[in-house]
C-alpha cells in the first residue's frame, strides 16, 4: 500500500467518521441522560427513524431544514413521553416497552413517510471549513455539518449541567437511589419521564441529521440500527457525556472504514471492521461486569446493571 493510498483512506475516514458519528452522538447523549435518571430506553431507533421522516417532511413543506430539525426533536419528545409514562406504571418492563416503542415509531414513520420518499427537500448545508486547502478530498472531508458541533456543545452542556446544577443533581440522585430521591421530596417517575422526553428530543435530532445531511434523503432503509446501538454506545462511554463524543467518533470511524477502503479499490473484508465496535463493547461489558456499578460510573437504579 502506497502512502498516497493511506492518505486517501485516512482523509475519507476522517470525513466519514464525522458524518457517520453525528447521529450516534445524539442518540448516545439522549440515552445517557435517560439512563442517568435510572431508566433504559431501548426504543431510540424509533425516535431516530420518526425524527428523520418528520425532519424531511417539515423541511419539504416549509422549505426550512432547521424547522425540520426542531420538529424532529419534538417528535422524539412525543415518543419519549409515551415511553416515560408507560414505564412509570407499576410492573411494566422498561426494556420491552423500548422494543415496542421502536416498532411503533418505525411504523408511524413509514406510514406517514410514504409520500416523502420521492420529493427532494432542502437539506442542511455544511460549514465549508476546508476552504484553506487545495486538496479537494480534504476540503470535502472538512465540509462539516453544523449539527456535529451542536452535538459536541450539547455534550459539554450536559456534562456541566449533570455535575453542577440542581437539575443535574436531581437526575443523578434519582438514577442512583430511588429511596434517597424520595427522601429529598423528589418524585422519581417525574424525573424519569422528563429525562426520557429530553433524551427522545436528542434522538429525534439525530434522526434529522440522517435525512437532512447524510445520507441526506428519506427512505425506509435509512437507519441501519444506529438507534439500537445507543445502549451499547452509552456502556462504551460509561455514562459520561464527553466520552459519548469519543464513542460516537469511534463507532463512526469503524462505519466509515468500509467506504474508505472501497475508495481505493479494496472492497472485501471490511465487514469485520463494521462489527469491531460491537465486539469491543461486548468485551468492555465482560471485563467490567463484576465491578460494582459505582466503579463503572453506572447509575445504581439501572435495570441492566443490577
Amino acid at each position: 500500500m502506497t502512502s498516497e493510498m493511506l492518505a486517501t483512506i485516512l482523509i475519507s475516514m476522517l470525513g466519514g467518521a464525522i458524518r457517520v458519528s453525528t447521529p450516534f452522538m445524539f442518540v448516545a447523549l439522549g440515552e445517557t441522560l435517560t439512563e442517568k435518571s435510572g431508566r433504559i430506553n431501548l426504543g431510540l431507533e424509533g425516535n431516530l427513524i420518526l425524527g428523520a421522516m418528520v425532519a424531511y417532511a417539515v423541511s419539504y413543506q416549509t422549505g426550512s431544514p432547521w424547522l425540520g430539525v426542531l420538529a424532529a426533536g419534538f417528535s422524539g419528545v412525543f415518543l419519549g413521553l409515551m415511553h416515560g409514562v408507560i414505564c412509570s406504571l407499576p410492573r411494566v418492563n422498561d426494556i420491552a416497552v423500548g422494543i415496542a416503542m421502536m416498532s411503533f415509531g418505525t411504523g408511524i414513520a413509514f406510514f406517514f413517510g410514504k409520500p416523502y420518499i420521492q420529493p427532494s427537500a432542502p437539506r442542511l448545508d455544511g460549514l465549508p471549513l476546508g476552504g484553506w486547502t487545495d486538496d479537494s478530498a480534504l476540503a470535502q472531508a472538512l465540509d462539516i455539518n453544523p449539527l456535529f458541533f451542536v452535538g459536541i456543545a450539547v455534550a459539554f452542556v450536559m456534562w456541566w449541567a449533570l455535575a453542577n446544577t440542581r437539575i443535574g443533581l436531581i437526575v443523578r440522585m434519582t438514577g442512583d437511589s430511588e429511596a434517597s430521591a424520595r427522601a429529598m421530596g423528589v418524585e422519581p417517575y417525574k424525573v424519569r419521564i422528563m429525562s426520557t422526553a429530553v433524551g427522545g428530543f436528542l434522538a429525534g435530532v439525530g434522526g434529522a441529521f440522517l435525512s437532512l445531511s447524510y445520507p441526506g434523503s428519506w427512505n425506509e432503509g435509512l437507519s441501519s440500527g444506529q438507534g439500537l446501538m445507543a445502549v451499547a454506545l452509552v456502556i462504551f462511554a460509561r455514562w459520561h457525556p464527553l466520552r459519548c463524543i469519543v464513542a460516537a467518533l469511534l463507532f463512526g470511524a469503524a462505519g466509515a472504514l468500509g467506504p474508505a477502503l472501497q475508495s481505493v479499490g479494496i472492497s472485501a473484508g471490511y465487514y469485520f471492521f463494521n462489527a469491531a465496535p460491537y465486539i469491543l463493547t461486548l468485551f468492555i461489558m465482560i471485563a467490567s461486569a463484576r465491578a460494582t456499578s459505582s466503579a463503572r460510573g453506572a447509575p445504581g437504579e439501572l435495570s441492566i446493571v443490577k
Binding site: 406504571l89 410492573r91 418492563n93 416498532s103 411503533f104 406510514f111 473484508g269 460491537y278 465482560i286
Partner: protein
Amino acid sequence: MTAVTTDDVPTRRSDFAKVRRTAETILIPVGALVASALIFSAFLLVLGKSPIVYFELLWRGGFGTAFSIQNTLQRSAPLILTGLAFAIPAQIGLVMIGAEGALVLGGFGAAAIAIPLVSAGIWPPLTMLLMALFAMMAGGAWIAIVGWLRHARGVNETISSLLMTYIAIAIMNFFVEGMLRDPASQNKPSTMPIGSDYMVGDIPGTAVHWGLGAGIVLAIALQILMGRTTFGFAARVTGGNPRAALAQGLPVGTLMVTCTAIAGACAGLAGYYEVGAVHGQANASLVAGYGFTGILISFLARHNPVVIVPVAIMFGAIAASGGLIQRRMDMPDATALVLQGIIFVVLLASDTLYGRFAIFQSRSGGDRT
C-alpha cells in the same frame, strides 16, 4: 359488596384461585387486543378510512380463502420459532432479544454447509437434515454464549444479545460479500443457490412449507419440557427467584445455558427454513425483523409455548393481508407495522393491570373496570 376476609373458607379459595388466575391471564391480553383495535380504529377514522372495511379486509386477506390461509400460515412459520426463542429464556427470567442474530447465523450456516454437500451430490433428504441440524447448532451455540456470559460473568443478556445480533449480521455479510459470494448474484450478494432438489417441500396438499410443522412440533415439545419436566420446573423456579434457586442447589448456570441454547436453536431453525424453503440462498433478506416480531408474539402469548402458535398465526394474517389492504384501501404497507406497534405498546402497558381486579383474585369482590 363487602370484601371477604382472607381467612374465609380456604377450600373454596383453592378451588377457584386457579380458574381466576387463568381467566386473568386470558382476559387481560384479550382486553389489550380489543383496546389496540379501538385505538387503531380511531387512527383510521382520523385519516378518513373505515375501520370496519379494514378489519373485514384483514379477515379476508388473512383467512378468507384457501390461498390466504396458506399465505398466513407460511408467514407465521418463522414467527412461531422466533417467538419460542424469546419465550424459553423468558421463563428462566432472561430478556434475550438476539433471535434475529441466531436466525441470520442459522440461515447462513445452513447455506454455507450446503455448498460442499450439494456439490458432492449427497442424498437430498440427508443434506436437508444436516443443514437443519447445523443451523440449530450454529444458532444454539451463538445464543448459549449469551446465557453463559450472564451466568459466569454477570453480563446483561439483553445488551449482549443485541450486540451479538449485529456481530452475527456482520459475519454473514463478511462471507456473503466475500469468499462465499455467488459470482452470479450481481445486485444482491448471496451464497450459491442450493438448487431446487435440495429445497424443503410443502406440507402435502398445501402450499405451506414444513417450517410450520416444525414450529408446531417444537412448541408442543417445549410446552411439555417447560411445564411437565423437572428441568422445566427448575428453570421456572430460577426465573421466579434466582437466589432461592441457587440456595436450593439448582444448577442455575446449566439451566441458563440450556435455555438460551434451545432459544438459539429455535431461531437458527427458522433461519434454515428461510434459506431451505423460501430464499434458496443466504443473503440480506434473512434480516427481515422476524426476531423482533417474535418478542412481541411471545409477550402476547405470555411466554407460553403452545399459545405462541395461534398468536403467530394472527400476526401472519396481519402480514398476509397487507397487500389486499394496500390495494383496496389505498394505504401504505406500513399500516400493518402501525397496528403491530400499537398492539405491542398497549399490551406491555396492560402488564400493570395484573392483580388490580378483585374479580380475578381469590377473594370475591366487585369488578372495578
